[in-house]
Structures are given as C-alpha cells and as structure tokens.
C-alpha cells in the first residue's frame, strides 16, 4: 500500500486508540482531506478531534503546545514544510523548552508533520527541505519518513514518549509503496536493522554483505529512496558496492550504525536535499571525522543541494536539487579514490 494511505491509516488508528490524539492543520477536513490527502476521511470519523484551521501556522503550533501541556497528544500538519519557519518560535521557545525549564513538571509532546521537498516544480517557497534549521534544537527530535520505516511503528514511538517531534514527510514519498525490510531484504537488497536502545531503527541496505562494501552512504527520506536505487544499479552494472544507512531519527542522531559501517568501508558520503552548508551532512562529517579519524581513507563527502532558491523550471530545478545523478557521481568519485 502506498505511503500516504499507510500514514492516513496510522493516524486513524491513533485517533481510534487514544482519545487524547487531536489533529490540527490547514484544509485537513473532508471532503478535501489535506493537500496531500493524508487525512482524508478522518474528520468525518472524528469530527471533534480532527480540526481544519485557518492559515495560522504560529497558532496551530501554539495551540498544539497548549493541548500537549494539558495532557493531549496533538498532531499538527504543516501543509508545506516551507512554512515551518512560521512555527519556529513556538518550536524553539515554547514546545522544546517547556519540559526542561519547568523542571520536568510538564511535558509538551507535540508531533508536527510537515510535507517537505522539491522535484515537483512548485518553486522557491513550496519545495524546500528546511529541517536543517531545526536540527540541533535542544530537546527536539527530528524524524524523517522513509519507505523503510513503517509509520505505525514510528507513530507508536511518538505517542509513547513525552518528547516533541518534528516529522518530515518528503512529498515524493506519498505516492510510493512502502517497503520496510521483510526477511532481511528490501527487494533485491540485503537489509539489516540497527536498534540502539531508545532509538528508532536505522535500516542498512546493500547489494552484497556489509563486510564487502567499500563506501558508506548516509541518507534519509526521499534521498534515501534515490540512493537505494543508485547503489543497486552500481552494484549490478559496475561492481561498486556501497552500504546505505537510513536513519529514521535525524536529530539527535544515533551514530552507532554509521560508525559500524564506516569502520568497515573507511569512506562516508552523506546525502540530503536541503541546502548545502551548516547542514546535517556537515554535522555527520564533523562527528565521524572526530570519532573515526584514523579509519577514514578520505574526507567525508557531503552532498547537498545548491544554496540558492529552488527554481520552478524543471531543468533548472534539477540543477539545484540533489537527485540520482548527483548521488551516482558522488559514489563513483568515492569508488575511484578506493582503488
């Protein structure tokens, strides 16, 4: 079943199982059911707890915060992740702070879901992956949807815990089939799942056993899906063997699976769709360089989009955003160094 539908079913299950779950967001009510249809049917089934809102991102986040402080489990939808900027104060100065500054006398477990990412020609203000600006906010978890993580498990984790979380859903994942590992495989790739305590699983994918890989690739979200296609193709066509590491939680990071992989390969390429510089990949480069300095055979390669606006024109957009071609080029370059 496709991701948008599975996510919708996950939310339906959460609303059905737990009276404390409340959904807020712009245009999420039926018959429209949200810009990407994730919430279709939910306002009919749960009219009190699924509420369509005006265009008021600050208040959506702030009201969610109040609900959470009062013991509810709000899930706020951001129609386009670009407008997370309008929630930034609520996230940084309210939601993420309350539990600690109130000395654990309150919790504020708001779940914010944001549709992110480009490649659809929506242009400069409806295509961005702005999550890097939220990485490193103390006491905020940032989790990225992927095809390898069942949203039911991810949301069960969110709803079980008392921390706030930003969940980024790349728009191009919505129509894709979800493919969590089954019997140690994802399609033709070998899949392993690293479960560090208290962390969502990190999925590792490779065409050959991990010990035989020469490159580690770290990616999340839609870019992880593209990277999986590239490593499969390069393995078959060129015998370039890379291991793809796909965390669900991108901040704070569970570095253990990355360290395990890089200790074998000695090479790390990070991939993200957000703009280059001060990014997830730069943090990964810093951490892995510090922890595995002697093991690295070449500098960590950080692949990210051009730090500029995202054009609407298809060819121009493709020049700016990371896509399969950039990922493939980075892997070939890393392979060349390895010989």
């Amino acid at each position: 079943m496709i991701f948008a539908k599975e996510l919708g079913d996950t939310l339906r299950g959460a609303l059905g199982d737990d009276e404390r779950v409340v959904l807020l967001g712009e245009d999420i009510a039926d018959p429209y059911g949200g810009a990407f249809k994730v919430t279709r049917g939910l306002s009919t089934a749960f009219p009190q707890r699924v509420r369509t809102t005006p265009i008021s991102e600050g208040a959506i986040a702030g009201i969610s915060a109040g609900l959470a402080l009062a013991g509810y489990r709000p899930i706020a939808e951001v129609m386009f992740g670009d407008f997370l900027t309008l929630m930034f104060d609520q996230v940084v100065n309210h939601i993420a702070k309350y539990q600690k500054m109130y000395a654990e006398q309150a919790t504020c477990p708001v779940i914010i879901r944001a549709a992110t990412g480009g490649h659809r020609g929506y242009g400069p203000t409806h295509s961005q992956s702005l999550e890097k600006h939220f990485l490193g906010v103390p006491h905020l978890r940032v989790v990225a949807a992927s095809l390898y993580h069942d949203p039911r498990e991810v949301f069960a984790d969110f709803l079980r815990r008392d921390e706030p979380v930003l969940y980024v859903e790349h728009k191009l994942l919505y129509p894709q089939h979800l493919t969590p590992p089954v019997g140690g495989r994802v399609g033709d790739l070998i899949a392993t799942s690293d479960n560090s305590p208290g962390m969502l699983p990190t999925i590792r994918l490779s065409a050959v056993p991990a010990e035989d890989c020469t490159i580690s690739v770290l990616a999340y979200g839609y870019q992880a899906m593209l990277a999986a296609q590239v490593i499969e193709r390069l393995a078959i066509e060129e015998e370039i063997f890379a291991e793809l590491i796909v965390p669900a939680q991108i901040a704070p990071m569970d570095w253990a699976p990355v360290e395990r992989s890089v200790s074998v390969t000695g090479r790390l390429v990070t991939i993200e769709e957000g703009a280059d510089g001060w990014s997830w990949g730069s943090e990964a480069a810093s951490v892995i360089s510090r922890r595995l300095f002697g093991r690295l055979r070449q500098p960590v390669d950080v692949v990210a989009s051009e730090p500029t606006i995202i054009p609407s024109s298809k060819p121009k957009e493709a020049d700016v955003l990371v896509g399969s071609a950039r990922i493939e080029a980075a892997l070939r370059a890393a392979h060349k160094e390895s010989r």
Partner: protein, 311 residues
Amino acid sequence: MSTALAPARDGTDERLTGVPGEPLAHRRYRRMRFIRRFEETLLQLFEEGALNGTTHACIGQEADAVAVTEHLADGDHIFSNHRCHGHYLAHSGDALGLMAEIMGKEAGVCRGLGGSQHICAPGFKSNGVQGGIVPNAAGIALANQLSGNDAVSVVFIGDGTLGEGVVYETLNMAALWKLPLLVVCEDNRWAQSTPIAANLAGDMASRFAAFGVPVREVDSTDVQELSEIAGAEVAAVRSGEGPRVLLIHTYRLCHHSKSDDERPEREIAERWLVEPLVVHGRRLDEADRRRIEDEVETALSEVVATARASA
C-alpha cells in the same frame, strides 16, 4: 457564580493569603499588600546582589491579579507572561517557592531553572516570550472543551504584546471554536520604554471586537470593582459562550525590569495617589490595616530567611 471567598490553597501562609473568617475587604488588602511587599523585597535583594538575571515587578497592578484569581477554581489554568509574580502569588500564595526560584535555589518551584519569568505549578504556567503564550493558553482551553469540563483558561498579556501577530491568529481560532479562554490584557500604558501612542494604531478594544470577541473594558485600580467585573467575565467564559477579553487600563508604578525608567516623573507621581493599595486601603480601619501589614511583613521576612537558607 464566583468563588470569591474560596479559602487559600493548602500549605500557604494565612498571614499572606487570608485568615479564615476575615472580611473579604481585609483579605483583598492582605493579598495585594503581600504581592507589593514581595516585589519590593525582590528589588531590594537585587540591589544587594542576591539575585541573578532580571525581574519584572508588577507594582501598581496587584489589583488585577487578586481580582481575577479570586474567581478561578481548581482545574482552571492561568498562563502568564514575564510580569508574572503577582499572578502567581495571587493564584498560589506560594511565596517561598517563588522567592527560592528567583534566588536560583533547588527549593524553587522550577528548581531555579526558570527564574522570574518561567514558572510552572499546578494550574499555572508562565513564559517570557510576549504573545507566544496566547495560543498555548488557547490549547489548554481546547483541551478543556474536548474533555467536556467547565474549566477556563486565563491568559495575561500586556498592551505592548498587542503588536504580536500570533495573538490575532489565536483570537480568530478561539472565536471560531468558541474556546473557554479569557484574555486579560493589562494596559499599563507602557511597553518597556515605549508608550502605547508609539506602539498601537487604532483602538485597543476594536482589535478584539474585530473577531467578534466580547471585550469588557475598565479603567480602574480598585480591586473591588475589578473583582465584580472579572467574576462576570470568568462566569461568562465558563458558561461555554466562547472567548472573552478583559481589558484593564492600569499603571505600572515601578520600572520595566531592574532599573530602566525614562518615564515622566510627574506622570508616575500622580499614579501613586490612585494605586490599588491606597484605593482599597481607605475601606479599612487604620488599626486593621496596620495589623494586616505587620502580619504580612513578619510572614515575608520568614519567607526570605527560609529561602536564603535553603539549598
């Protein structure tokens, strides 16, 4: 109706919050005097260098806190701002917890992590970001509505905060959803160093009226008058008709935070003549007033000594 004679919370010092059986007028004076002297003591402690950071005293606005909190019951929630001591003390009577908090002690309500403007206690929260707490209070109101109880959520803001956009996003949603939210806007004429004339276009009350939110506007420092009005407003919100605004025109007699005041001296001097303790104090016998003041003084000095000695 109102719980105007509700007893003080368990564990609070009756000398600060109200002695059982005493007339309501005495109790109100006692509570306002308690808040006033607490704030003056804090300012003194700052001068001594005993405190860290900053503090925003509410000297001159005690009547608002006492009047509104008189009508709140268990289950109701107050969300307050940077100038929160009066609201907190009127609500909880917890002088020691707040004093220790501002002193940065483990014994403080938030173990010294929050300090003057970030307080959490049952039924009470505050945050130092102007405006951002308004949707938070509305979220608590939504939780009450969903739970089907008749609790109300009260949020205190200042006139300067009317410049923040999220206030209007929230008013719109609160009105659409008929949330049990009471916004108490304390217009003390100044936002830090800026007079309302330089901060606010148009008319204050019309801003709320634009969302169809009823506004009750009053220019008073009289706790008795304010309490009557606040009681009616809280009751109306509790009845489920949706949000309301209580707009109180008042005055801040002290500086904004520690020692920043460029306001005309004459303007301030005039307001000392009509400040809440003077206005309400006239209703009390001289002897009663003295006795209450002495009791508050003794109780507060014990609080300060305990807070100083605590870890």
